[in-house]
Symmetry: D2
Subunit: 328 residues, 4 copies
């Protein structure tokens, strides 16, 4: 049985806490959050207690921490939990700053802690099946990966300002997906971007529409297409191309119903929101972490993956400014 | 808050108990089952108590009973619960015998009890969306309904012997779906059937492959196709045709992944088992019952629907024997 | 080289004449039609001559006749061509009358003539692929066949009056498809029908909406669904179910384009008209006939198939009136 | 009636000649080809004559020339035809050399000739429908275009050597498609490429796998993905994304048949070859040219489009070498 302390009682924290509570090998003992009421509500819902970080980490019964607090607290909580000898499942990113990320991972390494990173999309049943089929040789040698990733609607400009920008905040998921599916770290990054959706995003110094091209040392290629707004919902598709064929995952739709009239044939648009689309992924992510601990194996995404993705995001940002491909 | 006593701690009982426990307006107080260990395990899992029927029905805190016990106990439990003034959600069927069913519904009527019937497929998001779109006029006046319903694999012959046979046990779901979508009670039933899947089913006096045709007083038509075995999984499709168009629901597949190679393009087959396919439907069914109670409205399927479906099943059985359409 | 005389210069005749002219092993020498202008136009378009039946059949260069004239002339032309020793490709039906059909086939048999019948749907690439896959054992032993066949819009009531009615005129295609895919002649027919689309059709003594159930001696089953009107176009689908799986052919749509907006995802509706939908089928039918002649093999559909389909249509009509399954 | 002289009697020439012969407003008078036998065969098939360029261009009855000869003869034939006052439909490219292309277009402009260019994909019913829906405002303001274009199998290395390379020979179609759909000329081009399919292609100095990113002055973006080999056939997909939604065209498959077994659900792979996939496009291209002449309007693709596409290909080639985005 893995006993958890959870940091963060917000929207995504509520998802994780419910998944811990529902998992047969896990239980939630503590909730830590500066907003006392949120912490208490979430703790009550799952029979847990509110605590300070210090109390929670000092409890020898706690084996694991789940970090779902605000981004700027991730690295500190990781270091504290690592030093307390707790296994960690942390929402991405470790930190928006590359040096802070490296320092944090240094602590993780020194303490020998297990740090799983919440790249939830790796756990999506569709993308997971693509990866498994690739490992199974279904398309032979991988040659290209295409990722389409578009949010249903843009965030408020004030969020944009402190988000780290599209590349660090949004595309980082796709950069991780790309390197995961390529099975090889990209060494060359080209990016171009525009502000086409909302001028306020441009005024906040960010972009809302972006394309990235990646190349690995052996010549494998990847393309990513991002937009902060898709009128038809959350557009999350992946395609892998290899010598023997192609694998692709379509969007997920709420029903399979088709209406056929004189006006054409109409089906549902994709699921609108990431919590619906990745509901199964969040459950699988928690399960992967728990069984990694019980079976003493490596989780699907670890701290180093977060570092690689952030380096790729930084490179994309630089390429966008210089108009040149950036070599890593 | 609706407080439940549940009868039955088997496979389907476990589903219902978990849904009650997870529902924000419901709680599970008692589990009743002749198999003491099963009752205890299920009660423990959800913080409920094991009890006898008498104790549970005598508790004024209990507002509702969920009957998921063996088919031959349904009518007795319904009557006992009705007389105790509890609202009832009962798995289909009320009883395999038409007269017993009528007698039971008589008690329900006299006591003024609310009896919801577990025709889970009405709650499937796909079929529900078809029904809603029909009520919304999307295909105009309904003219034909087609239902394809095939189990992944045949039951053991010993189950067949006591099941009431394909028409009462399996097709009853489709007969209910047909009359629900037609929006009008069928008055003419024709059936034909074969034993093509497993000779042991034929030896047990039943069929495993059957087609039924229904006609309503206004001339609307419906077709049902049943098989006890589909090599590719649980085949559950519905199509409604009207003056302005057609609505249809395809099977549900576990992922959207497509593999394209020199051998063709391959996707997942349908979900294999009814517990997976109708997982959301069982949740919606419980929610429909709970909100029917709290909002004082009629649930999506009630006792009378069970009677109509059983009458249609009896008529199909007779038609099958006589080679004539049976008029109701 | 097969040299053709064609009877009939109407809409369907124009299709056949163009296919003969375009076929590398065929040429069109004569066009015969009582409407002189139509005959001349069609002959001119393909470098053929207008002739009387007598002249054309007397020409030893003519190997084959294609009969695309009005239904009531088919049997006479077949007999004349058979007696002249010409191979025959005749549009369905041979005749609307069962006795006349049998008498005509008697002549065909006595003369040893090859009579191919224009059941064009057998040549549709989709349905042909289903049949081939069945023969190839892809679904194992066949158990059920489902055919959906709906015209885009009802014919004028005056056509209905002389058409022989829905069963002989429209469903005959589906009855042929059913027996072809079942691979076994049905011995039991049940039919039910309504007039839901156009009251004028009912006043003309016909129905516009019909369901038929077929059963073979070995217990295989088939269902057919017909409507004279589908708001979304020409609905032509086939499904074959067997011990190892299912084969199905969807409608054909003009493009693969999908528009996805806030209102849902929209694709094309099916091709609207039989000439578009079965364009490739008519070409394949002609080619099958020509290569049957050059390779001395049996065409995909022959005279006897027309008789079987007509017998099934007559049985359906009788079942519809009596409410009983009719045994053949 | 438009009377044609056709240059080139090879594989693609045979397609064009047949389309001319079948078009009600066109006729084929001359075939010109250095290979006498090929010219004679093609001329015979359509009742045309073999001629020299001089004779054909001197014939005042000839209104139009169709150039389907080898690439290195295009520019010369265009100039000769332009000077003879004939309208021209020329297979792409005008020339592989940018300066030669410009000089040729100069002659076209001076003579006031109509020069339509054979960018056949613009005439594909799927892509055409996307373009029409965009012009019709279905997705609002265009923001991104994604083009997937993969050949079924790589050309022989000796072809590669004289083809002008992947960017000029293959991607030029996609560059044209991108600028056509964007509705705005790209001003920035980034390309990266690998040799992953066949080392012989690399030895011939070319690449076989390439990604290109385009940006217009207003910030619209496009991505292209090319491979010289797709194990599953000819992969030709287009997607356009805008403020109100997305339009996409899937591959075209030979049938709609799906086989569902215990192994999954299998459908046809895409049409394998460009002559099958773009059969309708070639017919529409000829029709567009003929009606442009008879109705005195501009064809869908003209000489200048070929220049733009070639400039984009040159820029892609340069970007590939330098690792920098090239500005036009």
């Amino acid at each position: 049985m893995i006993t958890f302390c959870q940091f963060g009682a917000g929207r995504i924290g509520a998802i994780h806490a419910a998944n811990i509570a529902a998992h047969p090998q896990a239980s939630l003992k503590y909730v830590v959050d500066p907003v006392a009421e949120a912490a208490q509500n979430l703790a009550d819902r799952h029979g847990a207690q509110v605590a300070t970080m210090e109390t929670a980490l000092a409890d020898p019964e706690v084996n694991a921490v789940l970090i779902a607090s605000s981004t700027d607290t991730h690295a500190d909580f990781i270091e504290a939990a690592a030093r307390a000898g707790k296994a960690i499942l942390c929402e991405k990113p470790i930190d928006l700053d590359l040096e802070r990320t490296k320092a944090c991972l240094q602590v993780v390494e020194e303490t020998g802690t297990l740090l799983a990173l919440g790249f939830n999309r790796r756990h999506d049943p569709n993308f997971r099946q693509i990866r498994d089929a690739m490992l199974d040789g279904k398309i032979g040698k991988t040659e290209m990966v295409q990722i389409t990733s578009r949010d249903p609607s843009p965030p408020p400009a004030e969020y944009v300002a402190r988000s780290g920008g599209l590349f660090r905040d949004m595309m980082i998921h796709d950069l991780d997906m790309a390197q995961w599916l390529l099975g090889e770290k990209p060494v060359e990054v080209f990016a171009t971007a525009s502000c086409l959706v909302d001028p306020a995003i441009g005024e906040a110094g960010d972009v809302d529409t972006a394309l990235v091209t990646l190349k690995t040392a052996s010549g494998k290629l990847a393309q990513i297409s991002n937009s902060r707004r898709a009128a038809y919902g959350y557009d999350q598709r992946v395609e892998a191309f290899g010598e023997k064929g192609m694998l692709r995952a379509e969007n997920v739709r709420p029903t399979t119903v088709e209406l056929m009239t004189d006006d054409g044939a109409t089906t549902d648009k994709p699921l609108y929101f990431f919590l619906e689309r990745y509901e199964a992924a969040y459950r699988a992510e928690l399960d992967d972490f728990v069984t990694a601990l019980t079976d003493k194996r490596t989780p699907l995404a670890i701290g180093r993956d977060g570092l690689i993705a952030l380096e790729l995001a930084e490179a994309a940002l630089e390429s966008c400014k210089t108009g040149k491909a950036v070599r890593l």
